[in-house]
Amino acid sequence: MTISNQQQWLVDTDIQIHSLIGDKSVVDAVISLKNQHSPCALSAFSKVEFKGNVIQDLCLVVRKIKDSDSIAEAVQRILATGGRKTSRMFALLCQHFEMDFTRPWTQVQGQLMTILDSELFVLWKKFTNGITNILDEFNCSRAKEEPVFQGNVRNTSIPRCRLDNTNCSIRQFFNHHLDELKELNRYLSNIPTGELTSELKVIVDVIEETITQGDFPWHGTTCRRIGDLLIALQSKQCEGLISSNKKEHALMHSSLGYSFIEFPVAKYRLK
């Protein structure tokens, strides 16, 4: 039996991440929510977002460990480039595996790299295989580029979109929804700037640029800056969208005309 898109809920990238990693109470609540709204679909673009966040963060941790001469140096490097969030990921892994940092550094390096390299593979597999239907309405070129873990190479980079590496249909996709986007622009423009999130401000800018230029400015990293909008537009062909990004979708869903279920992540976090 085939399931049409209208019969399934689209899950946002953050929901798919919360169903894999995080406090157990959050993971359990997300899985339960997904089961209630089964079958669920995922946007192919979510793969790009996941790669650009979790996978690249973990990859950064492995590289800093490999290039450092001590745990202190490794942690300082992770803090300097990945920030607190990435450092906490690293610290949690160390605690989970009860790392013994009194061992010689080369031994600690080997153990950490073993754990992290396998974790990178597992996360990518679980994220992409954990859902049956992947929607790829605009045939995203970046979503087709899986991370490469081979030999001693870990390639998790996401190239900027250029003529020679991009063969997607995002312009057609944007044009197809142009009337709704104009309406959204009018709606968001009437909201005081202070109430718009930084992502919503970028969305307004990109829509205005599209209207002015008569074409979607797809070069570079435009799509990655307006991920919420792209996923919201894709959810229009589904039952609706499940997301924890309340600030963006609470404002966009009524204007664009899609159903939105909020997952209140803070409610399920351990206090």
């Binding site: 990693i21 390096q109 080997g110 073993t114 597999k125």
Partner: protein, 200 residues
């Protein structure tokens, strides 16, 4: 080589190569009392069929071996499924096998990513667990994973296959390394500060 009591003893350094060739060319002495993995899998046709595919794909890579503990780890996990051992012996052998894998991970910085991935899958699957937590067919997968690790450069197809086998038995878990728990975050930040000063 020396002959003692009708058995041939070989220096430990050759153990890996000996075990590796065992059962293939029928010319190598039995240095390992544990049955070969083929013998173990006979009771489980489906698992044997899946794992045989792994062996075929990685045959060429089984020639070199730099991590001598892997051969010993393979012996140990073979003995874990040997039916003549008591539960206490089995548990001790299993823990010793885990320790060997951990030792191997200490020396795996220069190894191939595929090698570390397979090793990491197994270490994660057995982290804080005992032998009684696993079924026989799951231990057979650990044995085959250890067998593949005897190659210094396992292929990607080996990684995929071992991942799939372990995942089919729910032995692949994502480690929970995100948290929004405020108290936990504070503890982690303190821990990060300790690590960044090298003060442990």
């Amino acid at each position: 080589m020396e002959i003692e009591n009708n058995r041939v003893s070989v220096p430990e350094i050759y153990h890996d190569a000996q075990v590796q060739d065992e059962g293939r060319k029928n010319k190598v002495v039995n240095i390992n009392s544990a049955p070969s993995y083929q013998e173990n899998y006979r009771s489980n046709d489906e698992l044997f069929r899946q794992l045989r595919t792994v062996n075929r794909s990685s045959k060429k890579n089984r020639k070199t071996e730099s991590l001598s503990s892997v051969g010993r780890a393979y012996e140990l996990i073979g003995k874990v499924i040997y039916e003549d051992v008591t539960l206490v012996e089995r548990s001790n052998l299993f823990d010793e096998w885990k320790e060997h894998l951990l030792e191997i991970s200490y020396r795996s910085k220069e190894a191939d990513i595929n090698f570390r991935q397979i090793l990491g899958f197994v270490l994660s699957a057995v982290n804080k667990k005992d032998v009684i937590d696993f079924k026989k067919e799951e231990i057979l997968i650990f044995q085959e994973s250890t067998n593949i690790l005897r190659s210094i450069n396992p292929k990607k197809i080996d990684v995929e296959k071992i991942y799939r086998l372990l995942d089919n038995h729910n032995l692949i878990e994502v480690n929970q390394f995100f948290t929004g728990d405020e108290e936990r975050i504070k503890d982690l930040d303190d821990y990060i500060d300790i690590l960044s000063k090298g003060a442990f």
